[in-house]
Structure formats: C-alpha cells, structure tokens
Symmetry: C3
Subunit: 504 residues, 3 copies
C-alpha cells in the first residue's frame, strides 16, 4: 500500500501508453497540485526576502536617525564631526561585517557543539545564494552598524577620529559578533536556538536589547569614563569641580526631533523584522504583535519620562515646563526596553515596560551626572540602562503562549508563574555582555588614551572639531549683502514700487 | 481490487499534496497581508515626522520646540488613547447586523486572540488616528497652551474620531458602505479618509482657530485695532517645510494604497496599485496648479513674477488630501482634475480664512478641511463604476459616469455629519477651556515665544567657536610645522568670526 | 461502475482543491509583486527628498528656497510628463518583434486595463524618470532661471529620457538585452540604470553647466579675469547634506533591488537580495576610499590631517551610482572594487571639472555622469556569468571572467549612444535658451540670491525673542511666586539676547 509520490510524479511524466483514463486524470491533478506547492515555496522565498529587505532598509535608515539626533544634540562647532562619524559607522560596519564580522557571528559549524566564535563565510565567499543568505547578511549588517553608532554620540565633541575608527572596526568586527554568536547563533553557549538550551530555555532577547543596545551602550560607558568629560562640563578651567554642572545647549532641536522620529520609524523594521520570516500565519502574528508592543512602549516611555521630569522640575523651581530632551529620550528608552521582549509580552506589559523605561532613563541620566560621567547625547541611559531593563523585563513579563508562538520554549516569566529559569538566563546574559565588553574595551581605550590617540587637543576641543579637523564650520548662514538687496530694489520698476517681500 | 486500492492511496497522496499547497497559500496570504499593513502603517507613522518638520519650519523660531513637542506627544497620546478606548469605540463588531453608534468591545485590546490580523489592524488604524490628531497642532501653533492641547488630543483620538470611523468604516456604522444593505444602496465611499481623517482633524482645527483667536500682531495691532494688511509671519526654515512635505508625500504611499488593507490577490493588488498612481498624479497637479495660479495672481497685483514655495507645497498636500477619498475609484485623468481643483480649493480657502481673520499658522484648515470636503464630494462626481466594484464597493457610478446621484448624496451627507459631529462636540469643549483660561497662553509668554517660556530655552544655539580660540589655533598651526602659512580652514574661520 | 463514479467525484474534488491552490498562488504572486514595486517605487520617490536636502544643504543660504522648489517641481513635472507622453514613448510594446526607436501607445495611460501590474509598473518607472530629471537641478543651482528649468525638465522626462529607456530597457529597443536575439548575443546590461538614469541626467547636467557658465566669483573676479585659485562657496548646512545622503542611500534599497521588478520566486528573490548586498558594499567602499584619498592628498599639500565630509558623502553616492548597472550580476568582492574605483572616479572628475572651469554647485556631474559611465563599463569587466543567468540575462561573462568582450562592447556602445543622444539634443536646446536670455538670471539677482529675487524673501528667519520681552518675563517670573530667583531658562535666554 505504500505509495511514493515522487515516483508517481515520474510515472506521470513518463506518459506510458497503457495508462487508463483514470490514471491520466490523476496525473494531471498531481501535476496541478505540484505546481501549486512549488509556487507556494517560491512565493515563500520571495516574501521572506522582501520582508528582510524592507526591515533591513528601515534599520539602515536608523543611521540617518542617529546622525540627526546626535548632530542636533551637540554644539554647533562639532556638528560636522559627529555626522561624519555616523556616516563612517555605516561604511565601517559594512566593511567590517562583510570581511570578518558575519563569519565570527553566524558560521554554523554543522555540528551540535557549542562554539565561542564562528569561523566560516569570511568575505561571504562560501555563500551560494540559496536560503536567503544574501538578505540575511544585509539585515544583520544593519544591526551591527546600529551597535557601533550608539557609541558615537556619547564621545562626541572630544574624541579623536583615529580612535573612533579603531574602536568601530574592533566593535563590529569582533566584540559584537562574539556576543551575537553566543545569543543568536545556533552554536552559542547561552542561545535559545539549540535543542537543549541552558536552563531549558536560553536567553530570550528577541531583537537585541542586550545583544545590540547593551553592547553598544556598555562600550559607550567605558569610553565615557576613560575619555573624561568635555571641557567646562563638570570642572572649571583650573580643574576644580563646578557646583552645578554646565549643560551645553543642543544646537538644533529640529534635528533632534527629526532623528527621534526616524529612529522610531526604523524600529518598525528592527523589531518586527526580527521575526526573520513572514511566510506563515504564526510569524505574521509575531511580527504584528511586535509592531503593537513597540508602539505602546515608546509612547508610554515618552509620556512618563516627560511628565516625571516636569514634576521634578516643578517641585524644584515652581515653574511648569516641558522638556523635549526628556520626551524624546523617554521614547527611545521605551523602544530600547521593549526590543528584547517585543514578541513575547502582551500590550499591557509593553506599556509597563515603557513606563519603567522612562523612569530608568531619567534616573540613570541623573546618576551619570552625579558620577561626573559626561554623555553628550545621553546614549548610555537610553541604550545601556534600558537595554538591561529590557532584557530583565522579559524574565518577568514573558507570556508562555507568546513565547511558543515566537519560537521559544514556552517558559513563563515570573509574573506568569515561572520559576525563574528565564529570568536567570536573561540575567546571566546581562552579566556576560557587561563582562565581555568591559574586559575587552577597558584595556583597549586605556591603551589608546596612554598613546595620546583618544582625546583631541584641548585647544582644538575649545575651537570645535569642525574648524580643527573638517575644514570649517558646518553652517554658513550669511545672507545676501545689504547693498545688493538695495540695488535690486532700486532696479525694479524704476525703484518706485518695491515688492513687499523685498522689504524683509 | 489491488489496482483500486493503489488508486485510492494515490488519490490520497495527491489530495494531501493539494491540501499542502492550499494551506501554504493561506499561510502566505496571512503573512503577505500582515507585511503590507506593517509597511503601510510604518509609512503613515512616518507622516508624524513629516507634520513635525512642516509645522516646525512654518512657525517662528521662538516656538519651534513647542510645536515639535506637540507633534511627538500626538503620536504618543494617539497610541495610548487608541489602545485604551479609541479602537474599541471605532471598530468593535457586535456580531449582529444592527447599526450601532459606537463600538464597545476590545478595550485595551484585551479580547484579541492574535488571529486574523488583529494586531496589525490595530497598528495600521492607530497610525491613522494619530494623523487626525496631529493636523490640529499646526493650526493652533504659537499660542495654544500645552494643557489644552493634551486635553483635546486625547478627546479627539479617544472619542470624536472613533465615532466618525465607526459610522463610515465599521460594518456596524449607520452610513457605512460595508453593510449588506448600505444607505441608498451604496453608503459613503471614503476609501482612505479624506473625510474620516482629514475633515475630522481639519474641522477641529477650524473650531479651535476661531475660538482661540489669531496670533498677536497678525490681524490686529497692539491696541486691538484691525490692521489694514494682515502681517504674515515668515516661516523660520523653508528647508524643514520642504523636508516635511516630501516625507508626507512619501507617507501617503502607505496611507492610500495601504487602505486596500490586503494585497493577497490580483484584485486588491490592482486597487493598491491604482491608488499609488492616482495619489502621485493628484499631488503633482495640485502642486503645479496652486503655485502657478498664485504666481499669476501676484503678477497681476505687483507686476513681478515670483514663485511661492508655500503655495507649491500646500498645493501638493491639498491634492493629496483631495485624492484620499477616491484614490481607488477614479481613473488617472480624474485624479489630475481632482488635484487641479484641489490646488484652487487650497488657495481660495486660504485667502478666505485671512479675510475672515481666522489665523491658521500652517494653513492646515485649507489643506485638510477644505480639500477633505472637496475630496469626499469629488467621489460623487468621478467614481468609475468598474473601479468601484474592483475596490469592493457596490458599483454605483459618479454623476459624470451617468450616476443618478445616490453616491453623491451619501458622500454629501457624510460631510454634513462629520462637520455637525465635530462642531457640536468641539465648540463647547473649546469654549469651556477658553473660559477657564486653559486655552491660550499669556500674551507676554506668546511675545517671548513658548520655547523660552515653557521649554527651557530656545530651539537653536548657533553660536560658533570663539574668536580668540580660533586665533590661538591659527598661531599654533602656523608654527607647528615650521610653516608660515595657516591652514585655509582655520584662516577662513578666523576671518568669519572677525 | 458505481465505484468508478465515486472515484471520479473524489478526483474532481481533489482537482478543485489543487486548482484553488494554484490559483491562490497566482493571486499571491500578483499581490506580492505589486507590493514589491509599491515599496521600491515609494523608496525611489523618497530620493526626491534626499536630492532636495543634499542640494539645499550644498548651496549658499541665499538660494535655498530656489533649489528646493526646483526639486519639488521635478517630482510634479516628472509625474505629469511621464503620465502624458513619457511612458508611452518609453515602453509601449508594438506587439511585433521589430526594433523601434520610440513607443507610441498608452498616452495618458488610456489603454491600461489594470491587469498585469500596469499601474504599479507606471508608478515605479515614474519614480525613475523623476530621478533622472532631478540630477540636473543641483548642478545649475544658484544661477539658472526657473523658466529654463521648467522647459528642460519637461523635455527631459517627456522625450530625451524615454528614448534612452526604450533603447535599453524596452523589448523593442535596438540595443536592449530583452530581445530574443540581442545585439552581440547579449545586449546592454544596465540593471538599474547607471547609464539609463544617471548618465542621462548627468550628461544633461554637463551640457547645461558648460553653456550656463560658472557662478559669479567662482573662477573669475568681478572684471572677468581668471582667479589664481577658484573660490569654493561653503555649503550653508552640512546637516541637510548628510541627511540627504542617508535618505538617498536608503532610497537606493528601492532603486537597485526593486529593479528585479518581481519577487514572487526564489530566483528573483536571490537577485533582489544580492542587489541589497552589493549596493551596501559599493557605497561603503566608495565613501571610505574617497574620503581617505582626499585626506592623503590634502595632507601632502598642507601637512595637516583633515577629514572632508563632502568627499565622504559624494564618495558614497559615487559608489552607489557605479554599482547601479551591475548590482545584480557582480559578486560582493567585485562590488567593493567597483565602489573603491568609484570613489577615485568621483575625486578625479571633480578636480578635472574645476580645472576645466566647469562649475557644478553640488558635484552632480562627477557623481552621476562619471560614475554612471564607470558603472556601465564595470559590468563589462566584472559580470559573473552565473549571476547573469540568474538575473535573466544571457550568460555572457565579463572580461575578468574570461569573456571575449561582447558584453563590454555592448555596454561601451550604450555609453557612446547615451552621450551622443543627450549632447546632440541638449546642446542646441540650451544654446537657444541662452541666446534668448531665458537661461541665466540677471547678475544682480544672482548676487542677491534667488530667494529674495524670485521667491518672496529668504529661506530662514532665525530671529529669536526680543530682549525687552525676555526681560519682562524675567521680572514677572521672579515676582510671581514671591521668588527672588529667576528660572534658569529665562535667565539664560536673557543673557543670550543681551
């Protein structure tokens, strides 16, 4: 009674003369059914590729978001410098991740053994194009570039270009890939994507609160400590601590808000895109849920952070004021915090994660100032602190049903009656990422510093990096010469009637 | 017998294969539609950035932080309001065929089970709700209190807008096209929301602008006497305005084609594709018409030929708003005509508002309210019956296709209904806010600008390097390499700061 | 017999099921491809915003409105021109296998029946046409008359560009790869348009720049004597330039992968995916190469290390233009080499133009014309025969893969053809405009800037709050709560305005 469908297909194709009408009809139906199934497989490839192209492109656009946010946040005299760093990040990230980063991060060793680092696909040479390899690289590159760009803002206005280039290649080429390998690769030691993950569940960091944001944020923290604050931020000319820290005004709030919106938009690629496929109902549901939780966490983070800040300021000064920096960093904090759990928490949990994310941002920002650690764009509270909170939050809020839908083992978070395996896994991932980054980056930056390659000359810092290193300031707003405007006025209609607009 | 059993087994196998194929197609269909709404919703969300840039560029430099914060909070408030109650009011299906005024299920999305695209449906609809709310921000810019703004934006996304949506886009609505027996046999055809979204936002803006009054110095002098010519406040950054316009246009490629809601079959693919074409053409025609008409008007008045960016970009936006209702049911040439008239509607209504001394800081009322009305009406004239059927409506033709006016009547009634509903609710709302002193900022604060008054300082600090520092660097650089010559960038900077 | 009839009934059911599955797959395929082109077209459209920001940032502050208006009108004019005649000239298939010079059907899209993705095909192609037109805007910025601009942009999108498209991308073209028997057996391989789009735009820009002459004070002093060193006019806002660069790069992920035109099967999915990879790598390599080469050149000249943003961003754009022709047929390492050389081509051609005293306000000629040529040629060297087959071309290898040069010859001929066609048409066109005094603005207007001369005032008004108002607020706030202390933001503002 056994029937081999493939053999039957061959039989149909062979067109034997003596087959009955019945069999011929059946063969035709078989061919039709095969066509349908093959078309579905083809469509599936196309749809998933398109989904990752869309998501990767949106994540890439986050580079523009970071560039605008950072550019708006720094003083006018350093705007070219920070934007160039953002542009080079995207480029360096591409080159570093192409040559070695992807190989270190993902290479599957075709065994079930745990490995520390991948070792295949250098320069993508062994790609054969099938199985979405090209588009997979593209999507992962966009993430790597994001991790690198986080650091740029923190060390803005005082970091040397050479140092920046060194660490961004080091970060995307080695530090970040090893973290990825441990958590997102099937070979990683703490990954959820093995048959027998640690504690039965492994680390659940869906879109990378830990892998991407903490790695970038932790590097930023180390860099900020070793690099020291900007001149005049916490200490006066003679090095005596100031009573109140001087806050340097953002040179353009318009660019900051533009950057924030672009980042939020990009996150709709970052989080839903991390479903990696959308060719079936289950992954479609996962991606859709990610869009909802991402939106809600950002909204709650923004509102919470701004109004809390308003209340704090009101109790201090008696005036009601609304701070844009608190609002936009609150939104970003909420986005970072939901990144780990976007596919495994319910909307109400996303709201709570966002609300706490807003507080985490505010608290950590004030803590840094107290510690006299200078972060030019508050990237450490947003990415490092909220990255940690996001990874931890999964341990509390993960819904076991959603875990199963998202492809994890259905371990519940503590608030769903879990006994803490998931929380433990995620806590260990935080410790691991911090330890790995601190262990590698601290000596790295110390050596750079000792060699005098880390911080710019004091005078150059005072003048600003644009004039010192980038051939002049970033803006030239000089308008038309007064005498020319006057001459134009006089030339029109014998100079008697001047158009209204020219009198401006 | 053996032959027969082999036959049956073979048939079963083929059956399984066919079932696999069909199931895979169903799965793919879910995935594709979800992805389509994710894409469209994300683009509509980006329109928040477009509005923020457009408004920021249009106001004076002293209020730029204020307006952008309002835009950011809109997105947030819209999300929270639409999550908690708005979606429930707008869409809940009561599983009966009765007409209802408002939905009452799915508060906090609690009864979602994830199937059937519910999550992504909420995401897409949220983006629309946030758009409706953000339209108002620009009109009342430079003088509206933050508290008032927060109150009305929650009220709008949580209640006013959802009721309009329920009536026109929900299967339970009283005037919807999506019932078995819609009113007049066709119901209101407002494909992507010229009426539902733009008129609702625009009408709110109109009420607010009337009650709030014009900005200081716009139509009246210090002593309250009307000025002979209204003073126009210059936009502080045209670059931001144009950036905003382009982002909005880009976002509209999610707004209109996305309203097909599905793209898993040839018919909805055709609908979405047609939307992209009509949207493009209406915007282009609106832009060109508005700008050149403005140029001709100005030329006849002053004799000088000049090209106005505000007219161009608001013309484009007016065309986009106007095509939104009919993007899936009109042909390309009709889209051109709708866009051209949209450009004129914008210009005319803008001048009418100035004549009425109603002050709209970013011309949102002519763009969204006036062109929203025009767009909804235009469907009644230009709807092609074949395209109506393809887009899923009953195939009633517009008046120009020999229709006897049912569609025009439906759409006209929807305009009256939206205006009445918004005016009825928002007028007392804003009057009370105003009486309580919660609507308009203090005159002195308005004069200083809201950024310094309420947002901890101005939005820009363009101070460059200090002159003495640059000079010092010049000396260092000149001596460092034993050179006499100073690097050109430093010399240039020294000259500039001199 | 009864058994048999049951069998037949069962078979019929299975047949229906199989048919359903196959039909669903066909439907899905339509939807997916339409969606893919909607996404890609929207991204390419957003490149208009990228060009607007890049150009706006690159010009002097006094011409910012002018250049942005041109960019906006480009999008509009492109839509109208391509709708009315451009598409008909470019694509109409005459249903014969004969070679034609120009298409002649589908004017105003009137014969579209909606099937087969016609609507979305137009949308995608329109976005490309608008890109070709907008390239020119930057080069002639700060001195070209609006009228001239409108004339040439309609001429370009309505006739010049469509003929190039017809020859290379239409099945009827004389040198196309999409015939059964293409020239030399392979035809021109210009996947996403390094030649068709970028060279056409860039060549027009080159002709225009030569005839229009340099901006006042760039190469010659007031009296017309050549300056020893050319004066470089500083970009008024680097922030806008970088924003534009990133938006363009983002848009290119629609431009290149989208040119696969379909994504409903594994093969075209692979093509699109490869395009995304090669596009990224070429841009990254172009950027890094161009900037560091520039740094080294400057260092050898001045002894100071400096990093130039213009070199970096134009290097990235140069890499993007260069990979556009071959993005689907070269391997990643070849993309890196194409990008690296693209960076050098940009730098070299930019310096060459300055030496020739040809003034390009935004360096569009080196980026689009020079790198467009390099990109088309590079295919002849680097095309991988396997990838050629996957991308749907005949599997002719590039010279470095052992090809005997047919492909290189085809692509070289396409360069000659595009240059000849554009130079032949545009030279008399611009010369006549110039003779009629319609090309270049009045010298005084140029000096004042086009914004004040033609667009009703400057693009920015950064005036902040008045000093006395801030001081008054300071007093009010200090007394209001019985406090002596003034809120820090007001005090700070008072200090700043002092």
């Amino acid at each position: 009674m056994s029937f081999n469908v493939t053999a039957f297909g061959d039989y149909c194709a062979s067109a034997v003369e003596d087959q009955s009408t019945d069999v011929a009809a059946l063969c035709q139906v078989y061919n039709l059914a095969t066509d349908g199934s093959n078309a579905a497989g083809d469509l599936s490839d196309g749809l998933n590729t398109f989904f990752l192209l869309f998501s990767g492109a949106l994540v890439f656009l986050m580079q523009a978001g970071f560039a605008m946010l950072c550019a708006g946040s720094v003083r006018q005299k350093n705007v070219k410098n920070i934007m160039l760093k953002n542009l080079l990040d995207a480029c360096g990230g591409a080159i570093g991740f192409y040559t070695i980063g992807y190989a270190f991060a993902y290479a599957d060793n075709a065994s079930d053994s745990k490995t520390f680092i991948g070792n295949k696909n250098f320069l993508l040479l062994s790609f054969d194009g099938s199985g979405g390899e090209w588009i997979g690289w593209f999507f992962q590159f966009a993430f790597a570039a994001t991790a690198a760009t986080i650091v740029a803002g923190t060390v803005a206005e005082r970091c040397k270009m050479q140092a920046y280039l060194c660490y961004s290649v080091f970060l995307t080429g080695f530090v970040y890939p090893v973290v990825v390998h441990s958590i997102w690769s099937g070979d990683g030691w703490i990954t959820a994507f093995r048959d027998d993950p640690w504690q039965g569940v492994g680390v659940v960091d869906f879109a990378g609160s830990g892998v991407v944001h903490m790695t970038g944020g932790a590097t930023a923290l180390v860099a900020a400590i070793i690099l020291g604050p900007r001149k005049g931020r916490f200490y006066d000319e003679d090095g005596n601590p100031l009573e109140t820290p001087v806050s340097f005004p953002a040179h353009s709030v318009a660019l900051q808000i533009l950057g924030t919106f672009i980042l939020w938009f990009g996150w709709f690629g970052f989080n839903p895109g991390s479903a990696l496929a959308i060719d079936n109902s289950v992954s479609a549901e996962t991606a859709a849920l990610c869009a909802v939780t991402t939106t809600l966490a950002a909204a709650c983070g923004c509102v919470t952070s701004m109004f809390t800040d308003t209340m704090i300021e009101k109790s201090a000064t008696g005036e009601v004021s609304y701070d844009l920096t608190a609002a936009m960093n609150g939104a970003l904090g909420g986005l970072v915090a939901i990144t780990a759990g976007c596919s495994v928490v319910t909307p109400w949990a996303a709201c709570i994660i966002g609300i706490i994310g807003g507080w985490v941002y505010l608290g950590f920002s004030k803590f840094l100032i107290k510690m006299k650690i200078d972060d030019a764009v508050d990237a450490i509270p947003v990415h490092f602190a909220n990255g940690m909170w996001g990874v931890l939050a999964v341990g509390f809020f993960a819904d076991p049903d959603l875990m199963a839908i998202a492809g994890y083992n259905d371990f519940p978070g503590v608030f769903y009656g879990g006994s803490g395996e998931l929380l433990l896994c995620n806590f260990v991932s935080i410790v691991w990422i911090c330890a790995w980054v601190f262990f590698l980056m601290t000596p790295f930056f110390v050596v750079l510093n000792a060699l005098g390659m880390f911080r710019v000359d004091a005078l150059e810092e005072e003048v600003g990096l644009d004039i010192s290193h980038h051939r002049g300031p970033g803006y030239d707003m000089s308008a038309a010469k007064e005498e020319d405007v006057q001459a134009l006025k006089n030339s029109r209609h014998g100079g008697t009637s001047v158009p209204a607009e020219d009198t401006a």
